[in-house]
């Protein structure tokens, strides 16, 4: 049974600072998702559904608790430049000024060295552990309520964006044909073949959401996380999106969807309810 567990969240806590008050949203939420499951998380507005989904997809980090994917912990999300980096930069600048004024080293020699040291320090510090971005790139796919497609790219480019994101320039050139073919295939499955070269703003809401699903599936993720995927659509379009998700689940895709609508939740294989920051 434990071999079949894809994702396990244990005792998740998350709070937000709202002005002077701290809002404790998740208060020890536990969730286990098995491979091939279609889980709907239902809860009232403000119950912490989206927060839970973001934590499961490593878009945010919990204040407390652990998330295990295939039994392994997700590492913490880094938070940019640390205080030590500023300290090193200040030291570099002081050393640079000392060299100029006391040792009379030429500015043209000292300045490039200073720039290189500072850039190298910053670079070392801002490099987020690749493991988290790789996790978001290859292991999970997100479908957001508001689609979140890039306006500068057409539908086809939006769909194969995760492949481009995960590859170097050389890597992309080696697999671009394959990636484009897969994106076209996905668009065909989602009924968007004719819309491949259109920009997102030229599509209807349902079409945009299907394009977003295509993007989420591009790297064949083990887990699809859907945040109110029908929340911004009319009932007919929403129904077609749910059919797409059902079909994917029937093909073995693990899906975790959040919704506030019980009728939609019933379409999932399992429904869990989030009440007062806990799964009940």
């Amino acid at each position: 049974m434990s071999d079949n567990i894809l994702l396990k969240a244990e005792n998740l806590h998350k709070s937000y600072q709202m002005g002077t008050t701290q809002l404790h949203v998740l208060k020890g939420a536990d969730l286990t998702v098995e491979k091939g499951e279609f889980v709907a998380i239902i809860g009232a507005s403000g119950s912490g559904k989206s927060t839970l989904l973001h934590l499961l997809g490593a878009l945010d980090k919990p204040d407390k608790g652990k998330i295990k994917f295939h039994g392994k912990d997700l590492p913490e999300i880094s938070s940019g430049l640390g205080g030590h980096t500023y300290f090193i930069i200040v030291l570099c600048v002081l050393a640079f000024l000392a060299n100029i004024f006391f040792f009379k080293i030429s500015l043209s020699y000292a300045l490039p060295v200073l720039i290189i040291i500072i850039l190298a320090t910053i670079w070392r510090d801002i490099r987020e552990p690749r493991i988290l971005s790789d996790f978001r790139n290859k292991k999970v796919g997100f479908v957001f309520q508001f689609y979140h497609l890039l306006d500068e790219l057409n539908v086809l480019e939006n769909v194969y964006l995760p492949v481009m994101t995960g590859k170097s320039i050389l890597g992309w050139f080696l697999c671009r044909k394959q990636a484009k073919n897969r994106a076209k295939e996905l668009l065909k499955q989602l009924g968007l073949s004719e819309r491949a070269t259109h920009k997102p703003y030229q599509l209807s809401g349902g079409e945009r959401q299907r394009a977003a699903i295509g993007r989420a599936l591009m790297n064949e993720p083990e887990l699809l996380l859907a945040d109110e995927p029908t929340g911004n659509l009319d009932s007919v379009t929403g129904n077609s999106i749910l059919e797409v998700l059902e079909n994917l689940n029937n093909q073995g895709q693990t899906i975790v969807m959040i919704t506030h609508d019980e009728r939609i939740a019933k379409r999932a294989g399992r429904t869990v309810t989030l009440v007062d920051g806990k799964i009940v």
Binding site: Y16, L23, V25, S45, G46, S47, G48, K49, S50, T51, H54, G57, L59, D60, S78, S79, G80, L81, I122, W123, I126, R127, E128, R130, L132, S133, D134, R136, N137, K138, F142, F144, Q145, F146, H148, L149, L150, E152, L153, E157, L161, P162, M164, T165, G166, K167, I169, W172, F173, R176, R215, N219, D227
Partner: protein
Amino acid sequence: MYKILLALRYLLKRKITYFAIIAVTLCVFIVVIVMTVMAGLAKDFKERNYRFVGDCVVGTDSLVGFAYYEDFMAILEKQDFVEAISPVIKSFALVRSKVTNQDDTVEIMGIDPARHSLVTDFSNTLSYHKKSISKAFTLAYDPNMTGCIPGEDWLSLRGYYESKAYIGRLGFSISCFPLTSRGALAQAGTDLVDTKTFYCSDNFDSGLPRVNSALFYLPFDDVQRLCGMGGPTKRISWLHIKFKPDVNLDNGCEKVRSLWGEYSREKAGESQAYLLDTVSVQSWKQFRRETIAPMEQEGTLMSIMFVFVGITTVFIILVVFYMIISHKSKDIGILKSVGASSSDIIQLFSGFAFLVGLIGSIIGLFAGWLFLMNINRIEGWLFNHYGFQLWDRSMYAIGAIPNQVEFHVFLTIAVSAIIACLIGAFIPSRQAAKRKIVDTLQVTQL
């Protein structure tokens, strides 16, 4: 790959990007023009000073001069690194015009024109004796009269130059104060001559306004007598030396310095050896440092101004990128949600900034080059139509505004502009990369 793709799309789609490109273009354009012109002026000015002096000078500022120069000249002539030597006497004199009877104080320089032309560019500064330099002080209609060569500006300021009828007709009575080797005024009644009449045989334009307006070239022997430097132990002020073309300036000066050291020790027992203590060996740059230093200072001030131009560019880019990135924060969230890392986001916007800098630089360099190629025509047009002159010719002594473009200057400016863009874009892109994904996606709804 998506970074290049998106950087290009942002570049083409965002109108505000065009403002950033225009800002970079204008900064590059200004810097290119000012640097090219100012560098040209400075280079030209230094070259003119070099042409006026030669490579190296041995001598003293003292009006008494120094003795035993002939033996030292003989030593120098034997050296394989020395091409030519010219003895020069420099002093001050009172000049009285035979036409107007007006007095004036001038610097006088006694030279042998043929010798001096081998060391300096003297012959080319003359108006009439470029090809007959040995006759520079000879008046064609009366070889018995002694010629003098005043500066073009000196003649012009006194209204002689415009008439063009001064050659041979303009006489000057030149008086000096002859000094003994001890620096005292020579006693009246000795055979020292202190006044002589010279007639204008030519005029010179050295390209150095202060020299042109205050200096008279006179025959060497006459000045030596006028200044009391003749007699049994002859004296001069300076020895101007020209090195062979392949000789390094500092090495050449060092060799001369060493030779002079030995020579002055040899002459230590001579009666006028005390005069040798004031003699120094200087390169032309050291000799003319008082003239060159203000120009170099001007160059330093220009560099500081360019630093401010660079800082302005950085701030413009920073503001533009803040605006662009704040509009694109959702995109950053989307990219991160599909697997882009913080460093990827910084690379994306750095690539974008690089493109802005590159395009701005190319346009700015091209516009600058185009302007420089036509700068003299534009200035001429402005002068003809509005009487406006960009550069004061009397101050810089230039015929045309220098517009010689140099590849390394262009390259430095382009690279600096791109670096300025990268620095300007780095802070907002780093802050964008630092933001939480959920915040950038604006999905903080619970």
